[in-house]
Symmetry: C2
């Protein structure tokens, strides 16, 4: 099955929004892809025809087994290229998303597998997201919570869920990246902001909104 770039992007976004099982809505998908609902409806008909999604008028979209398989291939390529850009070309983690967005569409299994091998078959990407293996299997994610719900004091950053450049740049400026160890200094009930400290740096205060998007696990 040969997918166009537009088809791949739709599949990938459906996978992202589905998050396991949920039905994906036309509007949500249009918003995610920065396109219009009418365009999503058009594409949904096409992808249904190709048996990559389940879709009935007005009933929303879910991936079929084949669609899920395709999505995992795309996600695998995306995340491997992100590793390459960060590990080998010294990009910082907030820069790589757009570039990987283009590189992911080079659909060669041989290339993908060689790249993976070259990188040492990594299982998580620079944002902490798991990388599907050649068969589409995802490493089961280690237990993690968002920073605003953590109860341990000493934590490691394992992922950042919001992909916005603004947040990533902010964290970068504060010296926070994957694997950074944090200590929770205080939790202000007033606005649910959290004061944290990275070893060797002055303590900083983080809003609830930011804390919700930083994933951590106890060290």
């Amino acid at each position: 099955m040969n997918l166009s770039i537009a088809e791949e992007n739709h599949i990938k976004s459906i996978y992202k929004l589905q998050e396991g099982d949920a039905v994906v809505t036309t509007n949500a998908l249009a918003y995610e892809l920065e396109t219009k609902p009418a365009s999503v409806t058009d594409m949904a008909k096409k992808l249904k025809e190709k048996k990559l999604i389940e879709y009935e008028k007005y009933k929303g979209i879910t991936l079929s087994a084949d669609g899920r398989k395709a999505a995992l291939q795309i996600v695998r390529r995306h995340r491997l290229w992100e590793c390459f850009l960060v590990d080998k070309l010294s990009f910082s983690w907030e820069e790589v998303h757009e570039l990987a967005e283009e590189l992911e569409h080079v659909r060669s299994e041989k290339l993908t597998n060689r790249l993976s091998e070259f990188l040492g078959n990594p299982v998580i990407d620079p944002h902490g997201d798991p990388i599907p293996d050649a068969n589409g299997k995802l490493a089961k994610p280690r237990p993690q919570t968002s920073l605003d719900q953590a109860n341990a004091k000493r934590l490691v950053v394992t992922a950042v869920s919001d992909q916005s450049t603004a947040l990533l740049a902010f964290l970068n400026a504060k010296g926070i990246k994957l694997g950074t160890q944090l200590e929770i200094v205080a939790h202000y009930e007033y606005d649910n902001s959290i004061e944290i400290k990275v070893k060797g740096q002055p303590a900083i205060t983080i809003s609830e909104q930011v804390a919700k998007n930083i994933m951590v696990r106890p060290v």
Copy 2:
């Protein structure tokens, strides 16, 4: 100036066929791009509009200064990716062309320059072709002739001009690659075939057509 993939491919092929100064013909370009002359005419109008080529009806096509600059960027990306695939991912030189054909369209200067640096700023690609630097400057090619016109006995392979997979696979099977040292054993005037010997291997006979596509210089 943002070029589509189709536009980039046309620019690149015009650059390739132009070879310095020659005017490129509609038919030749269509053949090179595996498309139809009518499509080339359409695209020529568009590229002229964008001032990337000089073009008058029935008079053929040449690159403008801007077009040449664009072409060199594309060629740079293509050849750097070929180096990456061969040097880092252990592809053999005859496999990399198609993959580089896709990777070359990721238009990020930062990525290109970082990639170049990562590879040690190479100046020739795995086929022996020079890689333009970030300013579009080409290293001046070392003196070379095609194997059928060489007069020295001991030679080094410096490039292969035909990009066909068939030829590359043939050479690969014979253990001939960039940098391979050859010795001319005999030259048969009858059909202009040439008998050559690679150190440690039995002598082989090569047709004139193949010899024309192997570039060499005296060792």
